[in-house]
Amino acid sequence: MLLGELGPDKYTGLWTGKTDWKSAEVTAALDTFNKVLAASDIKSSAADWQPAADRVIDGAAVYTVMGDWLDGYLGRAKKLTFKTDYDVAASPGSSGVYDFLSDSFTLPIGAKHRAAAEKWLTECGSVQGQDLFNPQKGSIPARTDADKAKYQNYLATALKDWQDPATKIVGSLTHGVVANNAFGSEIDTALGIFVQKRDPAAFGAAIAKAYADTK
């Protein structure tokens, strides 16, 4: 919601201190979020994405704002066909922006089988490894030299957006790209309270304070 209302630059500024959480435009964006919440069945910030998607499948809900992995759920688990059974659209205001997250492995210092671990990491990062893993999971490769033919339907559109030089890339909050653990957990708290109290100004102030405290 903040990304759509503020645009990619100001959105990124939220995480770097350049955009003021207490500013009028942020408050306005949160007000819009309030209206959206009012039209949703979300009663808690802990609501899970699968039941939400199920309601879309049932026809009880019109849409759900979600990431690539939903394609894996709809296409594989629910055997639905892209374009005929379901379709995707950029959430309002976010056309031409790619909100990304990446999955990664850590290689601890002093790992016992370092050579084997390195082999595994090399495999994961290789074209072959990427092309084996991603289509199964419902994600796209970070590499530009992957085999595009392996990414069909929704993944083809996602890969096209990702590789389009005009696309602006921003980081996902939920997955820890833009906020450290401390800031992230404070935002969780503030969001939980916001969903109950629906007070944009208090929400903005709480996060501004958390940002200052956890910088």
């Binding site: 910030s45 009880a60 401390a182 109950q196 709480a206």
Partner: protein, 298 residues
């Protein structure tokens, strides 16, 4: 001197391992936790500074702690303890009347306690699902099927202040059988001759219960209240598995865990842990004091 050592030396050696374990793993860590709560430790690297009661003061103006966690745990404890006591007591009363297959009943009611809170939560999360229409399941569907659709509830997802009271349902389901067996043991501990004496004295059955049996159940009830209350204050897994980040069922124990291990606010988590300990202590210390006094009087 040698004689004295010989007198209680072997006993000391016997309890020494557990004494050491207690000293280190209970009191040592307790002290360490309090020490951490007085520091500004945040993030993975420990900080050994001393900031006084700053973390505690901050908690008292922390909206999540004061407006959600504390009222939530108070409501939960109230409903859970009162409910389990009432249900356990009534079940014990019924079983005490001498039901055929009493042992089977007793086991059936005790079984839920053998199930971990995580598993209990997963069952009840489904039972208390708040879906409606096509996606209605669990208790709501059962109610609708029985023509009681008007009782449809959002349970712990409801917007009410009392949403957390719904969690007392699985918690009570899990522990009221235990309370029942406590009360049943208490009732069985009342000598039959006392009831007979009261009957001969002219007391009707309800009055026999009220004047003779009930007062003798007071110690059992005290133990039950203390056991249930401290379980209630400490419960973590049940809420966690039920609806992790739903602030409506957030409690100090959950906040402590999330803020410490998700956010790295070690000092704040330690402060919450210390307050929790104080909460449990206000229940348990008077109880221990009371039992020691009773024991001494004997």
């Amino acid at each position: 001197m040698m004689r004295r050592i010989r007198a209680w030396g072997p006993g000391l050696v016997l309890i020494l391992p557990s004494l050491i374990a207690l000293a280190v793993f209970v009191y040592g860590f307790l002290g360490w936790n309090i020490r951490v709560s007085l520091s500004s430790w945040r993030g993975l690297a420990p900080a050994h500074d001393f900031v006084g009661l700053r973390n505690y003061i901050a908690l008292f103006s922390d909206q999540r702690f004061t407006e959600f966690d504390v009222p939530n745990i108070a409501i939960f404890t109230l409903v859970f303890v009162a409910g389990s006591l009432a249900i356990g007591f009534v079940m014990a009363l019924l079983l005490d009347r001498g039901v055929t297959g009493e042992n089977a009943f007793r086991s059936v009611y005790l079984f839920p306690m053998a199930i971990s809170f995580i598993a209990t939560a997963i069952i009840w999360r489904w039972l208390m699902d708040n879906g409606s229409g096509e996606s209605e399941t669990g208790i709501n569907k059962l109610l609708a099927g029985a023509g009681l659709g008007a009782l449809h509830s959002d349970w712990f997802k409801s917007g009410s202040r009392w949403a957390i009271a719904a969690i007392a349902l699985p918690a009570g389901w899990s522990l009221s059988g235990y309370v029942m067996s406590l009360f049943l043991a208490g009732m069985r501990g009342v000598p039959e001759e006392l009831r007979e004496a009261a009957r001969v004295d002219g007391a009707s059955e309800p009055r026999v219960f009220w004047h003779v049996v009930r007062p003798m159940l007071l110690p059992v009830m005290m133990s039950a209240v203390v056991i249930l209350t401290h379980i209630s204050l400490k419960t973590f897994d049940l809420f966690y598995a039920m609806d992790q980040k739903n602030i409506k069922i957030d409690t100090p124990a959950l906040y402590m865990w999330f803020t410490t291990f998700d956010g790295g606010f070690y000092a704040r988590g330690a402060a919450i842990a210390t307050l929790l300990l104080l909460g449990v202590a206000t229940v348990i210390v008077p109880y221990i004091w009371y039992s020691v006094r009773v024991e001494r009087r004997r």
